[in-house]
Amino acid sequence: MNTSLTPAEMARYARHIAIPEFGLQGQEKLKAGRVLVIGSGGLGSPVLLYLAAAGVGHIGIVDFDTVDDSNLQRQVLFTTEDVGKSKAETAKERLLALNPHLDIVVYKTRFTRENALDLVKDYDVVADGTDNFPTRYLVNDACVLAGKVNVYASIFQFEGQVSVFNYPLPDGSRGPNYRDMFPEPPPPGLVPNCAEGGVLGVLPGIIGSMQASEVIKVLTGVGEPLAGRLFLFDAASFTTRILKVQKSLDTKIEGLINYEQFCGIVSPDELRPVKEITVQELYDWQVQGADFQLIDVREPHEYATANLDGELIPLGSVSGAAHRILKDKKVVVHCRSGVRSAKAIRELEDQFGFENLYNLKGGILAWAKEVDASVPAV
């Protein structure tokens, strides 16, 4: 493979080449480098932009998703015009506009245990920009099994984490991996998801840029990668900490497993069904002046953005507020998409014997789409 730089590339990367410990050799290593970026969202956006700008020659992008309005607050690869388009395809277009000297391969698929090892095998480094625990454990295990370096970053609200896992050590062994740090995931529901918990839009920009920096260091051998250490950043207090990560004798990764099950995530098919009504039926009830109670189990900040005039009882406090929920008439429970409200209904039925609760199918998102477009779909 020809990794020598053309005159156009020499001009483009002049500021890299000027760094004494980086030089022409570092730039040629970037050109020969192969990086798989899993997720092209909040973290993936800065990672991809900086790796492309830096001249990483071969970049793979794994993302099955399409661009949504609510992504644009932080996913700086995309513009308003891209809403509805494939993230991976749009990212490729944007990156080639930034740097045409690259080979970019798009995988419009979920990263699964069926395709994981096949996807990572052609790359030197994997950058984990995923957004859920099952995929994080899968990325980690696939990297360990395939002998790839996993440059990890994660964000929540104001807080970010960065580390370099499975880094080759001088004695031929590998540095700690994600499972040495966290042998098992938190139970579902402890850490709120993006929609509930939120994230400061600039945070993935900061953390993803650090992730890109670590990828570049791993590829070029310049500097000291963040292996065996975990970097923590709290944007709210502007505090940073670096903690030691050690290998655990208990960590054994012998093959890929069922990561949904490992993370305690039960698929909707396995849950007890609850009674449902559609948004059209709810609308009809309202128009007809039907006598029912409407409960909204989202968080207060979500309620403040858009609501259907329901009584606000966030999911976490629903049992404690059961006395506010009527038993002598129909009660419609809703959330953003219908998942939390179904959970609330099961909890109320199990603990208090309610039989009059109806889940609003598709939640406020369906209402915004099918009944009232003036309600923000957030």
């Binding site: 859920n132 850490v191 993006c194 903690l243």
Partner: protein, 92 residues
Amino acid sequence: MAKIIIPTPLRKFTDNTSSFETSGNTVQEAIEQLAQAHSGLERHLFDDNRNIRSFIKVYLGEDDINSLEKGATAVASNAVISIVPAIAGGIN
């Protein structure tokens, strides 16, 4: 007094306070004091056998307490204890 730094995901159980001062002499005592002050934290920090849950890492300074003496690790009066939870960044 030693200080415990509370990570963002757990602050909903601590009225959004980000740190807690403790007089505990060991890490276990310090974390117990925190859980007593904020009862909602209890089930997130300890399992049924009062062990600190494995999806939460506890550090004394920059060291994982598992590489020291775990819960029995002595805490100096100027020590900083960090609770570090796994975060995934989105859906879980």
